[in-house]
């Protein structure tokens, strides 16, 4: 099934036989896949196919029941969520999870946590090192806000931002940790076509920064438009992968989406 071409670039993420079971429920099972540096890869599948659970295992929210997740050759399973961020995997959430009572700028600054070091003594004594680091964090956060197009909204509380802006702010926050792999969970959910277009452009811009992107996406138009490759999940299992056009033509994929009749 898999595309049998020469790999376009270095392998960034390699998932081997990954499973996440909840009691008898196999939310994710026997997932094998590879993501290369610089790709934009989409995960699609019907509701309940285990896509978000898969992301949650990748980012350490769930421990995983079996298998391996190799990121740059390093095992992610068993690693704490914040350590996974530290080695270069950041994510956004299906139902937006911003720090509601912090400003947009502060949200992004929080995202910088793993790349900064000042602990209690620095801030207490207002040392030069602390001031420099704060300055740098603020500059970078502003740059990121500008990057996602929220420059003027930096002092707004996150909860007061419009929906589309909140999605973008989440992306800015994750980018602040300088990830190598950015995982986006339904970034266009609830957006109108114009907003979606906007977001697609943003995702491309993210890739141009050298960040590999893995996303869950429901809008097929977006998937076709943006993805280098697509993985299809159903009942916790990866049932297909390939270039967008190939995948859409795949019988099992059509079956998964439309049922048996649709496939025949």
């Amino acid at each position: 099934m898999s595309a049998s071409k020469t790999p376009p670039a270095r392998v960034l993420l390699e998932v081997k036989d990954l499973a996440q079971h909840f009691g008898g429920l196999k939310a994710v099972d026997q997932v094998n896949l590879t993501i290369h540096e610089g790709e934009i890869v989409s995960v699609i599948g019907p509701n309940g196919a285990g896509k978000t659970t898969f992301f949650n295992v990748l980012t350490g929210v769930y421990p995983g029941t079996r298998g391996q997740i190799l990121f740059n050759g390093q095992e992610l399973r068993g690693m704490a969520g914040h350590d996974i961020v530290a080695i270069g995997v950041a994510r956004t959430f299906q139902n937006i999870r911003l720090f509601a009572h912090m400003t947009a700028l502060e949200n992004v600054m929080v995202g910088r946590h793993t790349r900064t070091h000042q602990f209690l003594l620095g801030p207490l004594l207002r040392t030069a090192a602390f001031k420099n680091e704060e300055k740098a964090v603020e500059v970078m956060a502003k740059e990121l806000l500008e990057f996602v197009g929220l420059k003027s909204l930096g002092n707004e509380l996150a909860k007061n931002l419009p929906y589309g802006a909140q999605r973008k702010l989440e992306i800015a926050r994750s980018l602040a940790s300088e990830p190598k792999l950015l995982i986006l969970d339904e970034p266009t959910a609830g957006m109108n076509p114009t907003e979606s277009q906007d977001l697609v452009a943003l995702v491309r811009k993210v890739r141009e920064r050298g960040v590999t992107v893995l996303l869950i996406e429901h809008q097929m138009r977006v998937v076709m438009d943006i993805s280098d490759r697509v993985f299809v999940f159903d009942y916790g299992v990866k049932i297909a992968e390939g270039k967008p056009r190939e995948v859409v033509a795949n019988a099992r994929v059509i079956e998964a989406y439309l049922g048996k009749e649709g496939a025949s």
Binding site: T59, V85, T103, L105, E106, P123, L124
Partner: protein, 320 residues
Amino acid sequence: MKKALAWRWTPWVALALAAVFPFLAATLDAQYLVRVGGVIGLFMLLGLGLNFTLGYAGLFDLGFIAFYAIGAYTTAIAMRAGVPAPAALVLAVMMSLAVRALLGLTILRLRGDYLAVVTMGFGEIARLTINNLDALTNGPKGLQVAPWRPLAFLSADPNIQYYLLILIAVAGGVIASSRIEDSRVGRAWIAIREDEIAARLSGIPVRHYKLLAFTISAAFAGLAGGLFAQWEQFVTPESFVFWESILVVSIVVLGGMGSIAGVLVGALVLVGFPPIMQWKLSADWINYRYLFFGLILVLVTLFRPQGILPSSRREAELTS
């Protein structure tokens, strides 16, 4: 811009007024307020301490007074053993920190109201243990503490001395709080309070930071307890009942969660109100003091549910 400038000076003006006040109290016929002000200051310290746990990190603690008690008793026992008073204060802070860290290590994985009830339990355990360990604490009969008069060169009145000492501690606490709040560490705590999972997946080691906030709180409580023991020259378990823990929580919430100015105002209102009523109400009304106090709690909460002075986020200069 002008408003921002005015706000910047407000704390310093307030501090200066507070520092001058005890020396004018005698002429204003308000010496009583020096004592009351000192007690308010102790609860400001407690409130600033709990603000790390409850206000920043959002951890619900109903047994905070235990660490005030540990600070007070550590100071009393150390001073009775001949430890100099300032060193006893340091010991009090260290002891409170140590016990708090151990407690945090065991219970911090509990969430929300489960954490509240476990801390309430610890508060009672601490008080009862102090009351029952007669050999160490002299049980219900309490411990006498030798007087320490650190600022005798400023005034002969111990109330004024402790008022100023506590004022210095509060000022230090406010500076420390605001500096930590406005840093990577403070942002991490608030992020945890707002959304624990998002905080972790933004790279914050949540458990460490919770433990840190939880532990730092105790430094304030331990210091307040130590100063309390030295000022009163006597400690008994009666001072550390559950009600006091509730009072500190009320100070933080009513003032404005995570707001330093809020905590200060909360302590001023809640701790200041009953003694002022004691002073100003006539004999017929003295029984009504706490009825009014309850009314204040309810009315202020209904009219200002986010607190009297809710925390506001620092605004950054965006046009650069």
